[in-house]
């Protein structure tokens, strides 16, 4: 009994890496994921994953083959870049000059936030100054009226 179990275990132990060497079952999601990052050369605004053209179909087949043969997703993408140039990627890789395309929009948004903050501060400061210069300009509300207002507001909610 124990020998049988040992044989079985060793078969499994040997079989495991062997199974990986053969045609690995390819994860279709992974194929789609890689295809979604490549530009279809025929319908040029669509990704290889989305494009209904025959060329895109064939390219998906090649992605599937390469993944099954053991390539990593990075290697598959590198293969296509090697044959078609950087242009085949739907978004430029984040290196060198191409960093700009990723950085500039966020930098612009950040700069905009700074400008908006600055403008709001100037507006609030101006209001504070105006109030300081003319403190008695508007009549204050006396306490009784204020409480009445609050009470009526609360009633509206119920």
């Amino acid at each position: 009994m124990r020998r049988a179990a040992l044989v079985l275990l060793s078969c499994l132990a040997l079989g495991w890496p062997l199974a990986a060497l053969g045609a690995a079952p390819v994860d279709e999601d992974q194929v789609r994921d890689i295809a979604a990052q490549l530009r279809c050369v025929v319908c040029q605004s669509l990704s290889v994953a989305d494009s209904p053209s025959e060329t895109a179909n064939q390219m998906r087949g090649i992605i599937r083959e390469r993944l099954a043969a053991g390539d990593t997703p990075e290697q598959v993408k590198a293969y296509f870049v090697d044959k078609y140039g950087l242009w085949i990627l739907l978004a430029p890789p984040r290196q060198g000059f191409n960093w700009l395309v990723w950085v500039v929009p966020f930098a612009g948004l950040g700069l905009g936030l700074v400008v908006v903050a600055f403008v709001i501060r100037r507006w609030t400061r101006r209001s504070q100054m105006a109030r300081r210069l003319a403190p008695s300009a508007e009549p204050g509300i006396d306490e009784a009226t204020r409480q009445r207002i609050n009470r009526e507001l609360a009633e509206l909610d119920t």
């Binding site: 605004s45 209904p52 978004a91 929009p105 101006r126």
Partner: protein
């Protein structure tokens, strides 16, 4: 009838009239001679008449198969169905310019008729600008892209319409889109008039409020119809590809939305005058940029119909418009100095500022991504491409931020929001949003973006419902009946609640986008006769293949029976259409639309004897919500532009 010559003559005459009218109006206003002003009005009317005649002439040429007109020969043939022969008018570059010019001349006519007795200070300058822009488009129709060109010898048959354009979407998409684009010319003209005359207060905004809303609406409609067309014609199951030409139409929509909001700050608080003027100039500039991109061929795109020197004309005009308008702005800079005052950072003004920031940042992102390939090539000689992964990554956070602001903005107080104000208006909706997101999470939704989007949608809906409910209840308390309290309230405060309904429409669209991205599934299978493939509870069985000869193409149709396990639901007929003038066959998608999900079939490869067929099956979820959202937008816009019922005193 020598149509090419008559049409060309009409175009040249219209160009001369438009140039004359523009100068006459400007000179008349400058020197104070009303005679010139009236003359320019007549010129404007004349231009409209001439362009209308030209358009009708071209349609007549299409209907009578007059292949002596080159445009007709290039875009139809004897097999083109009747209605497509009319809509082929705007199927290619030259004709699209006719359509643009005609709409612009129509708007000019409306302005002339509506405002000739009012706003006498602005009016001549507005006419001058409108006729000047018209003159440019007529110039394009005269020199680089004349639609009325004679083709000799006259061919026996034409080339035919691009088959992708033989579709109902093709009829309506350019109409809506161009109505939107050209619509922004009118507020732009008023803004220039304001700058020239120095009356840079709120006048130009108050006058053009409805124009801006209507132009914005048509642009939104045009974008949605474009998405619908892409969805049901192109066969990939998507509605937006971040294609450069799509982006070109999206950018003015973004800045136009920003303008719609920031003018409210100027109306209420007299602030942001400089910003609003700059924004309308930018929006109009972006509409020109959009047509430039489509027609110049400098950035590759599926949509682009490019030709010769047209692009250079457009770039030249864009340069004149931008440099001229911004120079006027710079000239008047001192008078536009802000006098804004704010009591607290937490206020509606701040919310509007953030709203504008996000929208303009999104427009900038789209612009940068669209021209980056050009930049990369100019500076480094390396061709790269920028597509969906980039645009999605950068824009999604911005749009989520805008959703949040949509809930906060309408309810937060002007000038200063007190703690009570915040508590009253936001605690319940925020809780509702969090609960909704939690429920979805428990229900199995894992995608963080989808959860955030759904939570925000519930939050925003909550704020709107709460606000409307409180206001209606207050009216009930003071004695109104149910109808007056609800419908009456809607009519009385139509701007506010029209805006709410428009926001609701945007929310529905947001839900559709989130749902379709997260939950759509697809598969592909090669089936023999009688075999079926299953997906998401549907069983799609291949029955037969049938070939047929249509008027201008050859069609192979597959019959597929769809059932959901128990009963047959429907039969779908996806097909492949073979047009003689096209290299590859065009897929004809068939689908079964539903509120929650659409079943979508695309026919792929097939055996000549009909023994097998490859079919791509997609279950696209919540895509219909985009079109439903469009309907809600329409309702909201109608409510918002109703005449004001409030009377003072």
């Amino acid at each position: 009838m020598p149509i090419p010559e008559i049409g060309y003559g009409a175009t040249v005459t219209a160009l001369v009239l438009a140039l004359y009218g523009s100068f006459a109006a400007a000179v008349g206003a400058w020197t104070g001679r009303p005679g010139l002003g009236r003359s320019s009005e007549r010129a404007a009317i004349g231009v409209w008449v001439l362009i209308t005649c030209g358009m009708l002439l071209m349609v007549y040429a299409f209907l009578t198969f007059d292949f002596s007109v080159r445009y007709v020969a290039n875009n139809t043939n004897r097999g083109t169905p009747f209605y497509y022969r009319i809509t082929a008018l705007w199927g290619a570059l030259e004709g699209s310019i006719i359509l643009w010019a005609w709409m612009l001349s129509l708007y000019t006519l409306i302005v002339v008729v509506q405002y000739r007795r009012r706003h006498s200070v602005f009016y001549p300058w507005v006419v001058a600008v409108l006729l000047g822009v018209l003159a440019f488009f007529l110039l394009v129709m005269t020199i680089p892209a004349p639609p009325f060109q004679r083709l000799a010898p006259v061919p026996p048959d034409g080339r035919g319409l691009n088959p992708l354009l033989e579709d109902s979407g093709m009829i309506t998409h350019p109409l809506a889109l161009y109505l939107g684009f050209t619509g922004f010319t009118v507020p732009f003209a008023f803004a220039i008039a304001a700058l020239v005359t120095g009356r840079i207060g709120d006048e130009w905004i108050t006058i053009t409020r409805r124009w801006t809303i209507v132009a914005w609406y048509f642009l939104s409609l045009g974008l949605l119809i474009g998405g619908w067309w892409s969805y049901h014609v192109l066969g990939w199951g998507g509605y937006w590809a971040w294609d450069p030409v799509e982006n070109a139409a999206f950018m003015p929509w973004l800045t136009g939305t920003a303008l719609l909001h920031s003018v409210m700050v100027q109306e209420r608080r007299r602030m942001l005058k400089l910003w609003n003027l700059g924004l309308i100039i930018l929006t109009f500039g972006l509409t020109l940029f959009g047509t430039f991109l489509t027609r110049s061929g400098i950035i590759g795109s599926v949509h682009a119909f490019t030709q010769g020197a047209v692009g250079q004309f457009f770039l030249g005009f864009l340069a004149v418009v931008l440099l001229g308008s911004f120079s006027l702005l710079a000239w008047r800079l001192e008078q536009l100095r802000a006098q804004g005052e704010l009591d607290s950072v937490l206020s509606r003004e701040s919310a509007f500022l953030l709203n504008n920031l996000f929208l303009v940042a999104a427009a900038f992102t789209v612009f940068f991504g669209t021209v980056f390939p050009l930049l990369s090539e100019a500076l480094r000689g390396v061709k790269v491409s920028v597509g969906a992964p980039f645009f999605n990554l950068v824009n999604i956070p911005i749009f989520l931020g805008l959703l949040l602001l949509m809930g906060v903005g309408p309810l937060i107080a002007w000038r200063r929001a007190s703690a009570e104000n915040l508590k009253r208006n936001f605690v319940k909706p925020v809780l509702a949003g969090i609960v909704a997101a939690a429920l979805l999470r428990l229900g199995g939704v894992g995608n963080v973006l989808v959860l955030t989007c759904m939570g925000l949608v519930v939050f925003v809906t909550g704020t709107m419902v709460l606000d409307f409910w409180r206001a209606a209840r207050a009216r009930r308390r003071s004695g109104d009946g149910w109808r007056a309290a609800t419908v009456g309230l809607l009519m009385r405060q139509n701007r506010r609640y029209g805006g709410f309904i428009v926001h609701l429409g945007v929310l529905v669209i947001a839900l559709g986008v989130a749902g379709s991205q997260a939950w759509s599934v697809q598969t592909e299978a090669t089936l023999e006769r009688g075999q079926a493939v299953e997906l998401a509870g549907y069983k799609v069985r291949f029955d037969t293949l049938r070939a047929s000869e249509e008027s201008n193409h050859f069609k192979v149709t597959g019959t597929f029976t769809v059932s959901n396990g128990q009963e047959a639901l429907t039969r779908l007929y996806p097909a492949k259409k073979f047009y003689p003038q096209e290299q590859t066959p065009i897929a004809y998608v068939d689908y079964r639309l539903g509120v929650l999900e659409d079943l979508y079939l695309v026919l792929g490869d097939f055996g000549r004897d009909g023994s097998y067929a490859t079919v791509k099956v997609q279950v696209n979820r919540m895509v219909s919500w985009l079109w439903l959202g469009g309907l809600v937008l329409t309702l909201g816009t109608l409510v918002a532009i109703l005449p004001d019922r409030r009377r003072v005193g």
